[in-house]
Amino acid sequence: MSPVDGAGASNPNLPVDRAVTVGREPSSSPEQIPQLSEVDCPAELKERIEALMARYPDRKSASIPALWAVQERYGWCTPEGIRQAAAVMRVTPAYLESVASFYDLLHTERVGEHRIEVCTNISCWMRGGDELLDAFRAAAEGEDIFVTGFECLGACDIAPMAAIDQRYFGPLVPGEAKTAIDQLLSGDAVLPEKSLEKRPLAGDTEVQR
């Protein structure tokens, strides 16, 4: 079945936008794709993106991983970084920008040196997620740290919790926000006893009947 047949099945007289069935294709007009010689892409970044593209049957699949690589290199998805990735991937910068803006973890504006996401979704909210977010905001005041409320991070078992530079910690009390930020700034291990990775399986945490 062709995509157009599928989409038009309910009313064959209506025109069908292919974007509805196969997603929007990136624009590929060559004059909008920057040349590698114009963008001054660091060699490691170029190699990294090329290696990522090689993992997929279609190089465009590497757009999210490439944007992750840009973000890792520059701290956020900078316009120059996006142009560099676009030149390597042979897509337009506008296309990569539209992809980046869709996803919450890709930042198209400068964010701090460290990133903290505090969950305020249902299970964390019930256990004090909003207060924890306030505490992190207060403790990060004036520091180069990006703090934001976030939807469920998939760790409701340690509610209320936060992701600090992509690692999970919980359950936290508001007072631990300051401790965590002090540790982050001084380069110490953050809240080692609250790290998710150290937590035993739920059923193993207590003597069972």
Partner: protein, 446 residues
């Protein structure tokens, strides 16, 4: 020691950190023996038959028969794909995280065997970007499996090939919807596609694609090793097998518990999760993640925890995530949290979902600010009806179902909260914020 009511199959030996390594997986649970058997001595149809006979139902939300879905893929010489859905972003769900973190090779082996059933040469694990540590674990496991010859070209000398790529998302709940996942994997914004065509016919890069959840695929090795009959000794007739259930919210021991499906919901909440916090009672639960219609405690406790019992009760088992709301949780506020999530995550492609989630949030904000009238509750309900079944994907329904259930079942509380808020009384806004309450809860868990 697990509780006597737990049945650990997928989480067998998961307390041992060595399980996450290839050697540990082999030593502790005999890992990769099934892959070897399947690749060396089984045909596609034999694997498919075992999966169909087992009655394994998808663990990602819809509960569709895994074997049947795999059998829908057309036969013949063309590029076919397998995608493992590890996006796990529904509020309340955190079971896939545990399975990937503690037992990544079980998933890799499951994917490799399912790829035989689907005749797929290329597989992907689409993992949510937030699960950075789990993605690292998977990367390491996949590298080990390549090294040992369980993945790649000419697997174990059988002339069968499989490439497996761990693909990190970047934070968008909608990418868990299977067709949005395909768009995201093709490098686009994650917007759902119109179905049909279904992914089994036309999916990734236009090729037939099997999409299954992490837990579904993690079940595959043991089913193929021990047979469908073995699998059916667990669970109920219509919900065979075990299920890793995520329990969170107002309970003493939140966490993942693996049960034989059909265990009474009461046991799940009171025995395994330790029941409500000291001095509290259970008011309501979401039995299957934030998109399942909430059940009052009185409706829920005597139900067996199975797909069919939850459906009969007008709700659903979904991804198998129980969120417990105790007597101090304000239901209208909980409805607002729920609606805000779906509003934030709506991809905006269809009007009823984009506008309906927006309106619902605004109306519920009026309710908790005391600016609404009881008639507005009827309007909220009718907005939900106008979303359900009218969108490309079920994200809109996922808000409409729980919100309309809350308004219907707790109408009195909505009216009381409106009246109190109008008089400036702040209704029980936040629940467990007090340090004493948290301490008590922590003490009970430590």
């Amino acid at each position: 020691m697990p509780h006597a009511l737990e049945t650990r199959v997928l989480l067998d030996k998961a307390e041992d950190p060595r399980l996450a390594t290839l050697q540990g997986y082999k030593d502790l649970v005999g890992g990769y023996a099934t892959l070897e058997k399947a690749y060396k001595s089984m045909e596609q149809d034999e694997v498919l038959k075992e999966l169909e006979d087992s009655g394994l139902r998808g663990r990602g939300g819809a509960g569709f028969s895994m074997g049947k879905k795999a059998s829908f893929l057309p036969r013949g010489d063309m590029n076919k794909y397998l995608c493992c859905n590890a996006d796990e972003s529904e509020p309340g769900a955190f079971k896939d995280r545990e399975l990937m973190q503690r037992n990544p090779h079980q998933l890799v082996e499951g994917i490799a065997i399912a790829a035989l059933a689907a005749d797929a040469g290329h597989a992907f694990i689409f993992i949510r970007g937030e699960y950075d540590s789990q993605a690292d674990t998977l990367d390491a496991a996949v590298a080990e499996a390549y090294e040992a010859g369980y993945l790649g070209k000419d697997i174990l000398g059988t002339h069968r090939d499989l490439e497996l790529v761990v693909h990190r998302g970047a934070g968008a709940y909608i990418c868990g919807e299977e067709t949005a996942l395909l768009d995201a994997l093709e490098g686009k914004r994650g917007n759902p596609r119109l179905k049909p065509p279904f992914p089994a016919v036309q999916g990734l890069y236009g090729g037939p694609t099997l999409i299954n959840n992490v837990e579904t695929l993690s079940n595959v090795p043991r089913i193929v090793a021990n047979g469908a009959e073995w699998f059916r000794q667990y669970g109920t007739e219509q919900s065979p097998g075990t299920k890793v259930v995520s329990i969170s919210g107002g309970v003493r021991r939140p966490g993942n518990y693996e049960i034989s499906l059909g265990l009474p919901t009461r046991d799940l909440i009171y025995e395994l999760a330790g029941g409500p916090l000291p001095g509290r009672t259970v008011k309501a639960i979401y039995p299957g993640g934030s998109s399942s219609p909430v059940l009052k405690a009185s409706e829920a406790m005597d139900l067996p925890y199975s797909f069919e019992a939850m459906a009969e009760a007008g709700s659903m088992l979904g991804s198998g995530s129980v969120i417990v709301a105790d007597d101090r949780v304000s239901i209208p506020h909980m409805a607002l949290r729920t609606a805000r999530f779906y509003h934030h995550e709506s991809c905006g492609k269809c009007t009823p979902c984009r506008e309906g989630t927006n309106w619902t949030v605004k109306m519920l904000e009026r309710v908790v600010r005391g600016e609404a009238t009881p008639m507005d509750l009827d309007i909220i309900s009718s907005v939900q009806e106008n979303i359900m079944g009218k969108c490309l994907c079920v994200l809109g329904d996922s808000m409409a179902m729980p919100v309309s259930a809350m308004v219907r079942k707790f109408r009195g509380e909505f009216e009381a909260v409106m009246a109190e808020a109008a008089e400036g009384i702040d209704p029980h806004t936040i629940i467990d914020a007090s340090p004493e309450a948290l301490e008590a809860a922590l003490e009970a868990t430590s």
